[in-house]
Subunit: 248 residues, 2 copies
C-alpha cells in the first residue's frame, strides 16, 4: 500500500534516516492517515522492516477520533476496516449517537453503508466523523477507493457535513505538535501529499517540504492552492538539509 | 417501493383515474425515475394491478440514456441493477468510454464501485451518466440509499460532474413533451416529489401540481426553492380539476 501518507512512506523507503533525525536531538513524530490497522499493528510491521519507531511516536486518525468521542460523550456506530475495530474497544457502542467512517475497503458493502446511513438519518443531530478525506490510493493490484468517497456519499444522503479527523485537519496537526511540546513555527512537516501533508501543515502554521517520492507528481509543483516551502528528491535529502541548518 | 416518482405512484394508488384523463382526450405520459427494472417489467407489473398503461407511454431514465449514448457513440460500463441490464442490450459495451450508474442496490459493492471508478479515472475525458440523483427511498423494510449517493461518490473520486438523466433534468421532460407533441405551456405535471417532479417540470416551462400522497411532506409547501402551481389531496382530485377546466 502506498497510501500511508507523509513522512512514513518516505522513511520506509530510505531506512535509517529517522535515526539521523533522532541522533540530532530533534523531536520526531510520524503522522499517518492509515485506518486499515491499529497503530500497534502498523508499528509492528515497520519494526519488522527494521524501522526504529514506537507506537507513541505515531499520530493516526483512529486514536484521535477516540479522544474526540470520549470528550463529547459520543457512542459510535463504526463503518471501518475489521482490523481497526480494536482501537475503539474502550468505547461504549450501544445505542449509537454518531457514525465513524474509515477506510473500510470490502466492508463498504451496500448493506453496511445503508446501515450507517440509517443510524445517521435517524439522529436528531446527525454527527458523521470521517477518518480522512482521501479519494483513492494505490495498491499492487491497482487503484482503490478511499474513505473520502464514502464520506461524500453519506454527506449527500443525509445533507450533513462530516468532521474530518486526520490530515489535512488542523486539529490533527495541532495535537501532534502538542504531544511533542513544539510550536508550529519550530516544526517542519515532510510529506509526499501536496494537499494533505504540505497544505494541512501550512494551514497550521508549520513549514512543509514535499518529497519527490511516493504519490508526488510533477504537476504538484504548480498546484493552484498549495505551494510547498521546498522540494527534496527524497527524505534523506530533507534530513541532510534540516540537520545542516541546525549546525549553522 | 415508494420511490417510483411522480404521477405513477399516485395513479397506482387511485386506479382508474388515468382512464378519466384518457377519456377526456388529453394526452398522458408517465414519467418515472425507476431504474431497478426494464420499462417492460415495470409496465407488466402495473398491468397486473389492472392499470391501463402501455410501454410507449412511459418515460424512464434507462431508455433516455440509451438514446444519448447512441447519439454520442458512447460505450457504457454499466453499474446498474441486474434487472435493468436488458435495456442496454443494443449497445456496444466493449472497451467502455463512459460509466452509466443506476440504482444498483446490492450491486453497489466495494468491488463494483471500484471497477466503475477505475474505468472512469482511466479515461482522458471521463463521462459519468447517472440515472437520477435521488438520495434515498423507502421500502417495506426501511430506507435505502439511492443512485445519487453513489453518483456523488464517483464525482468526488474522479473530480467530475455527472450528467443526470431522469427527473428533474430538463432534457428528460423535454423528451417526454416532444414524444407527446405538446408545448410546455400546454402541459401539466402531477407528482409527489417537490424537487424532482414539480421543480423539474417548472424549470422546463410546465405548470406542476403536487399531490399530498406518497413522499409528500407538509413542509414541502414551504420549500425554499420550489413553489408548486397548486396542491391536490390525491390524483383523483387533480384529474377532476383538469377535466373541469377543459370543459369550461
Amino acid at each position: 500500500r502506498m497510501r500511508a501518507g507523509g513522512a512514513v512512506t518516505g522513511v520506509v523507503a530510505e531506512l535509517g534516516q529517522s535515526r539521523g533525525i533522532k541522533a540530532s536531538g530533534l523531536k520526531l513524530r510520524f503522522c499517518t492517515n492509515e485506518t486499515q490497522a491499529t497503530r500497534g499493528k502498523f508499528v509492528a510491521k515497520l519494526q519488522r522492516l527494521g524501522f526504529n519507531i514506537l507506537v507513541n511516536e505515531v499520530s493516526a486518525p483512529a486514536p484521535a477520533a477516540c479522544h474526540i468521542l470520549k470528550e463529547r460523550n459520543l457512542r459510535p456506530h463504526l463503518l471501518v476496516h475489521d482490523d481497526l475495530v480494536p482501537e475503539f474497544d474502550q468505547l461504549d457502542k450501544a445505542n449509537p449517537n454518531c457514525v465513524v467512517i474509515g477506510d473500510a475497503a470490502d466492508n463498504f458493502s451496500y448493506k453496511n453503508l445503508n446501515e450507517a446511513f440509517r443510524v445517521l438519518i435517524g439522529l436528531e443531530n446527525p454527527i458523521l466523523i470521517s477518518l480522512g478525506r482521501g479519494r483513492y490510493y494505490k495498491e499492487t493490484d491497482g487503484l482503490k477507493l478511499d474513505v473520502g468517497v464514502y464520506m461524500k456519499a453519506l454527506e449527500y444522503a443525509c445533507d450533513v457535513q462530516a468532521e474530518v479527523v486526520g490530515k489535512p485537519a488542523k486539529m490533527f496537526f495541532q495535537s501532534a505538535l502538542a504531544e511533542m511540546d513544539v510550536e508550529p513555527q519550530q516544526a517542519i512537516m515532510i510529506g509526499d501529499d501536496i494537499v494533505n501533508d504540505v497544505g494541512g501543515a501550512q494551514q497550521c502554521g508549520m513549514r512543509a517540504l514535499q518529497v519527490r517520492t511516493g504519490k508526488y507528481r510533477p504537476c504538484d509543483e504548480q498546484h493552484p492552492e498549495v505551494k510547498a516551502d521546498g522540494y527534496v528528491n527524497n527524505l534523506a535529502e530533507a534530513v541532510d538539509i534540516i540537520v545542516k541548518q541546525l549546525h549553522k
